[in-house]
């Protein structure tokens, strides 16, 4: 195995694209090193991206936020502007692992590990986040939900690296929230999760919405029908009831030791209701 620490993204892309054998990108390593030790095979090349200029920074621009691929989740939680604009994204990122893991793990790593139960992914999808992909053919920006294609698989081609995650500048009266169900109080993998992102008009009526569900299908689900239920409402009881029904219906969960299909469907509806209620309150709705 070779370990390299390139100083530019172009060099990192070139090394990855030119590698003959298996290659892996190292940011926080909280999935990669566990996989290496678990006997899932050692890559022939490890490209540590933490020395690349700008990748360890959160930048606030006129368009919103750009979160570098090497920024640990603990840093997201310490950024007051980001927390104020996107509290749901930050609370999701903060749920990944322990304090020790928080000091290393990244949202790009969480996305590219492509676990159906990844905590930050439904929140990012609900937020309409985009991924900046750099590869041999140049730079492109894609929606976050197009990255995972199956458990452990992504749409990224050989030599491609996600450089940053982009979050839009917030419109007034906007809020987001993320909730998951786990049988413990912390340090566990989501059995079901829900992210909701809302913007209200000046009368407190939802004018735009995105609802995403995690751990209930092979990849994160963006449930457009659920968003349609919320738009035009003030989250009255009938709306929340319909939201739960639509979300339960959209799930395609598996039965496993952590939860049955029936349980996951029901909890998806409940979590969507609660996340929507929280996002609505954060957006200033009453």
């Amino acid at each position: 195995m070779r370990y390299i620490r390139p100083l530019s993204i172009e060099d990192a892309v070139g090394q990855l694209a030119g590698s003959a054998g298996t290659a892996a990108i190292l940011a926080g390593g909280s999935d990669l090193l566990v996989r290496m030790k678990g006997g899932f095979g050692e890559p022939e090349l490890i490209v540590d991206i933490k020395a690349i200029d700008g990748l360890s920074e959160i930048r606030e621009t006129a368009e919103g936020f750009s979160i570098g691929a090497a920024v640990p989740c603990a840093v997201l939680g310490e950024n007051t502007d980001l927390k104020k604009a996107w509290p749901g994204v930050v609370e999701a990122a903060k749920l990944i692992g322990s304090k020790q893991v928080q000091g290393r793990c990244t949202i790009v790593g969480n996305l590219c590990n492509a676990s159906p139960a990844a905590d930050s992914v439904p929140a990012l999808v609900a937020a309409g986040a985009k991924a900046v992909v750099v590869g041999p053919a140049g730079r492109r920006t894609i929606p976050v939900q197009s990255v995972p294609t199956a458990p452990g698989k992504t749409s990224l081609a050989k030599g491609e690296i996600i450089e940053a995650i982009l979050l839009d500048k917030r419109e007034p009266r906007s809020g987001d929230a993320y909730l998951r169900f786990i049988p413990r109080t912390e340090m566990d993998i989501a059995v079901v999760s829900a992210g909701v992102n809302l913007t209200l008009d000046e009368h407190g009526v939802v004018k735009s919405a995105r609802v995403a569900l995690g751990a209930v299908a092979a990849t994160v689900l963006l449930v457009e029908e659920a968003a349609e239920v919320l738009i035009g409402s003030r989250l009255d009881e009938a709306t929340l009831e319909r939201l739960a029904k639509v979300c339960a219906g959209a799930c395609r969960p598996i039965d496993d030791k952590r939860g049955t299909i029936e349980f996951r469907r029901k909890v998806a509806g409940v979590l969507a209701q609660r996340a929507a209620t929280s996002a609505y309150a954060r957006a200033g709705g009453k």
Binding site: A74, Q100, R104, M187
Partner: protein
């Protein structure tokens, strides 16, 4: 194989070592540098026994490559006491009998030190959440929590 040359700072001292690309920082500390305070419990980032502080961030050294320490600052349990004077957390762990077999103790002490550096006056809940990445199979955690609470009082008064 010659390995990768790494220059780093450990507990305030400049240190240089050679390591293999797939060698973890925990293995470097224990097997190459003789710093055996950090323990290997699970080796997969679940138990916290190998906790160290890397550039002011609490991390599991089993999930860091030795090569990644280049140019960074590493703090381990060996740097916690000043000569013969124990750190207040170490003293309080003894007084409260917050350890039995002791394997988890260095990790708990480092994690508690990081917790109190960032939050000098934590609630019991904050302590329990803050130390959730450290597993102890002997004490049932209660004595550890009391020791950290007591050390926080001492450290605030200092």
């Amino acid at each position: 194989m010659a390995g990768i040359a790494v220059s780093t700072t450990i507990n305030g001292d400049a240190v240089e070592y050679l390591c293999q690309p797939d060698e973890t920082l925990l293995d470097v500390l224990r097997d190459r540098l003789g710093l055996t305070g950090a323990k290997e419990g699970c080796g997969t980032g679940d138990c916290g026994a190998c906790s160290i502080i890397l550039d002011d961030r609490l991390v599991c050294s089993c999930l860091v490559l030795g090569a990644e320490a280049e140019g960074r600052r590493v703090e381990t349990i060996e740097g916690m006491a000043h000569g013969d004077t124990l750190h207040p957390l170490q003293q309080k762990f003894l007084e409260h009998a917050a350890l039995q077999c002791g394997i988890c103790t260095p990790g708990f002490l480092i994690a508690a030190k990081d917790l109190l550096a960032k939050n000098p006056d934590p609630t019991e809940e904050e302590i329990r959440f803050g130390l959730a990445g450290n597993l102890c199979r002997c004490t049932g955690y209660d004595k550890i929590v009391r020791a950290v609470q007591d050390a926080a009082i001492v450290m605030k008064g200092a």
